[in-house]
């Protein structure tokens, strides 16, 4: 018995504070949140316990998912994620490909491409709100004015003020901030490919395109998957940028994370919690298979 304590005691001592914390603050709170999402706590009096609340099962979810407003949020989330993912993957890959071969001053290019990652979404939102100003013609400033100056005036548009696709404009700053990150992932991927592999391909007479298509791309697929997972889950949680560029009350740019905040601000805890659960499910669908797969490959 004492020997077992000697063996198990110290590691358990080191890790148990964190295990308890994660258990309570991640899994415990998720459970409580699910419970709250199934109550009718829609008013301040109920939220503070001064009025009774009842258990209503999935009623809030049915109401939310059936409402036009929330469907609009989900549609926005989908569009935002699509534009954000495609944008960062294309730019990140392109930059990595450009920087893969030795070039004078490559370090400077790399640092500049990556630097927006170090800035908060709130700070970059300040400048992007200016850039994405919807005024056109005489009153135009921001990107619309720049388009006029460089003779591309026809590109002027009202950016995020478009009800249907405005959210795609908010993806622009997101792409600006995170393409460098995807580039860094791809660069690490490129550099992990042994030079012999390229040489072998060249000796076999593969064209540059075929070399990429059949030798390099397959080697990069784990990196690409990691990038999609990371950008994808960030995108699903997008909140800061919209708060900073648009406003929480703006219908055209709302997403579930914003709805959650708006519900909470009016003490509608049940719907707020329900939106949280929906977001969790969406993220889990993306993340859980990836984590399981990663754990499996590590084991082998």
């Amino acid at each position: 018995m004492p020997r077992q304590i000697r063996q198990w005691g110290p590691p358990l001592l080191l890790i148990s504070p964190s295990l308890i914390i994660v258990g309570v603050f991640v899994y415990g709170l998720i459970a409580i949140n699910v419970k709250t999402s199934m109550t009718d706590v829609h008013k301040a009096a109920q939220a503070t316990g001064r009025a009774p609340s009842h258990f209503v099962w999935f009623e809030n979810f049915a109401t939310l998912l059936g409402s036009d407003a929330f469907q609009h949020s989900l549609k926005n989330l989908l569009l935002f994620t699509a534009v954000f993912l495609v944008g960062t993957m294309v730019m990140g890959f392109l930059w990595a490909w450009l920087l893969d071969r030795p070039a004078r001053g490559e370090g400077i290019f790399r640092s500049v491409y990556l630097f927006p990652m170090a800035v908060s979404f709130i700070a970059s939102g300040v400048v992007w709100r200016w850039l994405l100003n919807s005024n056109q013609g005489e009153m135009a400033s921001g990107l619309n004015r720049l388009f006029q100056i460089v003779g591309l005036g026809f590109l002027q548009n009202n950016w995020w003020n478009n009800v249907n696709v405005g959210i795609a404009a908010i993806a622009l700053p997101a792409i600006w901030q995170l393409s460098g990150y995807v580039m860094a992932l791809f660069l690490a991927g490129f550099r992990g490919i042994p030079e012999e592999l390229r040489e072998a391909g060249r000796i076999d007479g593969a064209s540059e395109w075929k070399l990429y298509r059949y030798v390099l791309f397959p080697q990069l697929s784990p990196v690409a998957l990691a990038a999609v997972i990371i950008i994808g889950h960030m995108s699903l949680k997008t909140f800061d940028l919209i708060m900073s560029i648009s406003k929480p009350a703006n219908y055209q740019t709302k997403v579930p994370a914003i709805d959650m905040y708006v519900f909470k601000s009016s003490f509608n805890y049940a719907d707020s919690a329900a939106v949280g659960v929906i977001l969790l499910v969406i993220v889990a669908v993306l993340i859980v298979p990836y984590l399981v797969r990663t754990a499996r490959t590590e084991k082998n």
Binding site: P116, V126, G142, M260
Partner: protein
């Protein structure tokens, strides 16, 4: 020191073709020029917002016309910077008070967890690690309502004290991940040697493992510093502009100055970004190390 250098963690990108790639042959020079032009083009595009931030922050009332949106200031003025500093200085001070303890405490927790999970094989160790890791990916919206009630009920003061605790708690997954990946690369002989000398796990951790962990401590500290400094979500739920960090104060400043004076908010945005940009410029290698660790496989 066992060949574990800072480079293992901090320089996963290396230099292009360092010592192994034959120099591109001369006949590709047209392609090389095109490539260079493309690189320069993207460099300029990425820097457009920086130009706007800097130039607008020095503009006075006389430059307010949209026609002068992209021009340099007619007269350079420091007024915006002074106003922004007055508005943000208290919040910047509070953010410093928040990020330093948050980063240090979560680094130590991560180091302990990482060591145990990398070295101690028990049934279900992978499951435990995956369960911790999942905490990194959850949308915090899914815990926010009960978390609000819990923090309120605990009597923890709103503002910086609450935020320190939250950043420590929700920093555990990422810090554990970075340290675990690092400790898996520590040679077994080092740990074995300590055990042969009669050191238990705790002693081994304190006197053998911690001293060689400095590189990953730097990576983790930078990571936690940056994410706590840039956090807005917890800030907006758990503090107000009177007692909250700089992201919240900046957002309020920008909303207040919305229509008229972009200059103040641009100066404010630059001020609020100085610490993380400095870290990025001075310790960029470690910053990238943290980014890479974020991709799970490390």
């Amino acid at each position: 020191m066992t060949g574990l250098t800072t480079d293992d963690l901090a320089a996963p990108l290396g230099r292009a073709g360092a010592n192994r790639r034959p120099r591109a042959r001369k006949r590709y020079s047209v392609a090389r020029t095109l490539r260079y032009l493309a690189m320069l083009f993207f460099l300029l595009v990425v820097l457009i917002p920086v130009y706007v931030l800097v130039v607008t922050s020095f503009k006075g009332i006389g430059d307010a016309s949209p026609a002068r949106a992209w021009s340099l200031p007619q007269t350079w003025t420091m007024v915006n910077w002074r106003d922004a500093w007055t508005a943000l200085a208290p919040a910047i001070a509070r953010t410093v008070e928040m990020v330093i303890p948050a980063a240090i405490i979560s680094s130590f927790l991560g180091s302990m967890n990482g060591f145990v999970l990398a070295r101690w094989r028990f049934r279900g160790a992978d499951l435990v690690f995956t369960l911790i890791l999942f905490g990194m990916f959850i949308p915090y919206q899914a815990v926010m309502i009960p978390l609000l009630q819990l923090v309120l009920g605990s009597g923890l003061p709103n503002g910086i004290p609450s935020l320190i605790v939250l950043h420590v708690i929700y920093g555990i997954p990422i810090t554990t991940l970075i340290f675990r990946n690092y400790y898996q690369s520590v040679p077994n002989e080092l740990i074995e040697a300590a055990r042969v000398d009669g050191a238990g796990m705790l002693r081994t951790f304190v006197s053998v493992v911690l001293p060689i962990s400095i590189p990953s401590f730097v990576v983790v500290l930078i990571w936690q510093f940056t994410s706590a400094w840039n956090d807005f979500l917890f800030a907006v739920f758990f503090s107000s502009s009177q007692n909250g960090p700089v992201t919240l104060a900046l957002n309020n400043l920008a909303n207040g100055a919305l229509l008229q004076n972009y200059g103040v908010s641009m100066a404010g945005a630059l001020l609020a970004s100085v610490p993380t940009l400095l870290v990025y410029i001075l310790l960029g290698r470690y910053f990238i190390g943290g980014l890479m660790s974020g991709s799970v496989k490390g």
